[in-house]
Amino acid sequence: MDTSTNAAAVQFIGEHLLPGQLGYFLTTLSLVASLVATFSFAKAFYAKEVSVQNDWKKLANIAFIIESIAVFSCFVILFYVISNHMFEYKYSYMHSDKNLPAEYLLSCFWEGQEGSFLLWSFWHCVLGLIVIAKSKKWKQESYGVMLTLSFTQFCLATMVVGLYVFGYKIGSSPFNLLRDEMNWPILARPDYLQLIKDGTGLNTLLQNYWMVIHPPILFLGFASTTIPFGFAVAGLLKKDNNWMTNALPWATFSAGILGLGIMMGAAWAYESLTFGGYWAWDPVENASLVPWLILVSAIHTALIYRKTATGLRVTYLFFGLSFLFVIYSTFLTRSGILGDTSVHAFTDLGMNGQLLTFLLVLVLPFFILYISRYKFMADPVKEDAVDSREFWMLVGSLVLFLSSIVIITITSIPVFNKIFGTKIAPPEDPAFAHNQVQVFVAIIIGTLSAIGQYLKYKGGAKKGSFLKSMRVPLIITALISAVIFIFVGIAFNEKGIGFLAALFVATVSSVFSIVSNAHYWVVILKLKFKSAGASIGHIGFGMVLLGIVLSSGNKTVLSWNTTGINVIQKDPNNKNPAGNPMENITLFEGVNTDMGKYMVTYVRDTIDELEKKFFELKFVEKGDNKIKKDSFYLYPDVLKNNKGMEGFSANPSSKHYWNKDIFVYVTSFQDHTDEDTVSFKSNQIKIGDSVFYSNGYVKLENVLVNPNPNRAAGVNELVLQMAVHSVTGLKYDVSPTIRLEGMNMTMIPDTVKAQNLILNFNKVVDQTKGILEIGIKESSSLSNLITLKAYEFPFINVLWIGVLVMTLGFMISTWARIKINNAK
């Protein structure tokens, strides 16, 4: 078994080749099976006779099930390879190491492109099997769904198959051997595996529990957009629009999961990356947000169609684009095209051509089909009622859609640069460039989601009844907004009064959305759980908006550099082109430092068994002594970088309160692994003598014998009472000590950190004359110091709770719709 085809002459020792061979076989099998499934589902979809259709269906289902088994097995085998540290496989070598805690072995799985394609494929299989489980009740469109799903699976299978066709490499297999991929000389040796002690490990940024859970949820979100897309494709092909009822629960499920997945990524960014926040408008974040926005638009226009038989064109377009933008974002993040603009795109695997093909084989047919059916999707001619629910739902959907188009256009700048050879770079403040637009989208959507449910489909409500029903929510909104403005306020005025005003309006609008939807559910729906989906979803969305505005609008920097150590002057005119980035405070070990509302002390640092270096920081609230002061410890850490990067990556730590988070991370620290080369200088000294050092003098005041009554029996101590006087006039007391225990002598030096001074009691030179020898060492590396950034995020919990509430809303909708559909 231990032979390899391309190196038959060499017998490699200790390789496990069976998992890889199985893996190659299974990826190829899944490729073939998905092709068979695609073909058979297409035949069944177009079959004119029921018996023919059933025959093809049977074959297609079997092919899909075989493909699923192959994908699941690949998944298990790759995990087996990683978890058993089989470094003969490149994937395992590149993405894991032996020291990794077990829970992060899963993160290794999806650190690389190949594993994450497998994960995506895995969810497609799960979803497809759910559809197949109900195949007795299939309608015509279900064949189209499975056709689309199988074809997408075929495309994904090509990504991991790793075959050479006519000299062109198709896909990159996760089961490739290290010695086939690398030209390292040692890999030619039969015993190379003994020389490769360990893998290169998981990127330190990904060693976080969110990275275990966020990718699977996000990819389930991505995978689930395929199903509504499949429904839309089937509808276009057959010119039959009856699929929307069956597609809606899939769409709400998908939107719920995708939204949750995106926000888990935001939580990861907040907790583990040092962006200083949860959202940075990074291209990778945008690329996953855009499909979600369009999917939400699609859900709303599909509801409009079901109630009023209008809005077909946008509904087809939105369901189509939500999926196609998932593929587009795959292209963006995996092709390496974002290299200069994104922090966390995948590394380039040299598959750009293939990724582009993947995008085009889905985009082009869809749009050709869409355009050819354009007339068929025409709305019945009639005037829209401005007082109708569908009118404002459509406006909201269009706003969301256009906002997503704006976001993706900006995100695609590197693509335009590639195509047109331009050299456009992101603006000076890329986040603000987005925020100044999206705050208005938030205002519009918040308000529309507040009033939407109070309007009737097709309009025609009694005059004044709408305003009457809005009265209570409006009053409550006004009250809550007033409370927020008085007690919390919004402090973000860096971008001028216009943006600040917009933030105030956005606050009111999101409160309005929360209140009005809660009121609708309680008063009009009488707390009926089955119809709660929309209300609860909207409440959650309003909370997300409110949380974003309050936390970002009031984010304050606590770590203004107040140490007074040669601080550069703050430019009063704010003309410093770097803005005002003096947000890093220097902390010396053991020195209590003033930092905004808190006195903060860098107590010590420790290193855990994974070489994570933790800094213990003690925060004590300043203020009146009579009031009980708040004090707490935070433990930000740094982890030595791997992946060819030297240095360290920082992990923030935060203290959670119900109404705010204190968020800190270490921006630099002194690495004390270097040996201290400065030596002690010896001085002979008597009581009353002084010795100079570079920054003052040290005086020996007294010598004490056994001053500590609680010392252990048989121990004698000789303690020097000394005073360090610095030129700045500060005095520090130190007491270096000699300790005698039988014949063992220990010297216990003492230090003055602020003066970089270590004092040692070397020996007694002449007991009768009272001459002693002390050692003085001055070392710049003595003072352990770190630089720290600290922020306060108020009401960040409103955002996180909002995400959960919104997801709950989507899931209630999904459940209620499945129940209704099953009852039919």
């Binding site: 990159s172 590394t347 550069i568 890093n584 921006t667 630099s668």
Partner: protein
């Protein structure tokens, strides 16, 4: 014409206005030579460290002051001031993307994007570059 069509047109017009106004905020990638001609304009430089200029950074004195020299592929050189902490491994980085403005003879930098060398140089497909961003 239906009201929804009017609204759609208004919204699309608005989106186009937004995108056009956004282009006003956009910056560009410049060489050091051309950047010096554009005093005070926010722009991006793609450069590497100039090893002949010593890196000045002393966190004890000021953790928010970093000075170093860079050069670009055309041989242009400029000194850089960065009012922030020194990015880890900056001196080992093969390529830096600097964002900021030229003020007189120095480049006042507001953000640095590092391109770090990789251990896996033998393999063109492996992690050649690992981007890391440090911003304010």
């Amino acid at each position: 014409m239906k009201k929804t069509h009017i609204i759609l047109l208004v919204l699309i017009a608005f989106a186009i206005v937004v995108l056009i106004s956004y282009t006003g905020d956009l910056s560009s990638y410049e060489t050091i030579g051309s950047a010096k001609q554009k005093q005070g304009k926010f722009l991006n430089l793609i450069v590497k460290m100039d090893k002949t200029v010593p890196v000045q950074y002393d966190p004890v004195k000021d953790p928010n002051l970093l000075k170093f020299g860079v050069q670009d592929s055309l041989g242009g050189k400029i000194n850089v001031v960065f009012h922030n902490t020194m990015p880890t491994d900056m001196d080992k980085s093969e390529r830096l993307v600097l964002k900021g403005k030229v003020q007189g003879d120095v480049f006042e930098c507001s953000a640095i994007v590092l391109k770090c060398p990789s251990k896996y140089k033998d393999n063109p497909n492996a992690n050649q570059e690992q981007p890391v961003t440090f911003t304010n």
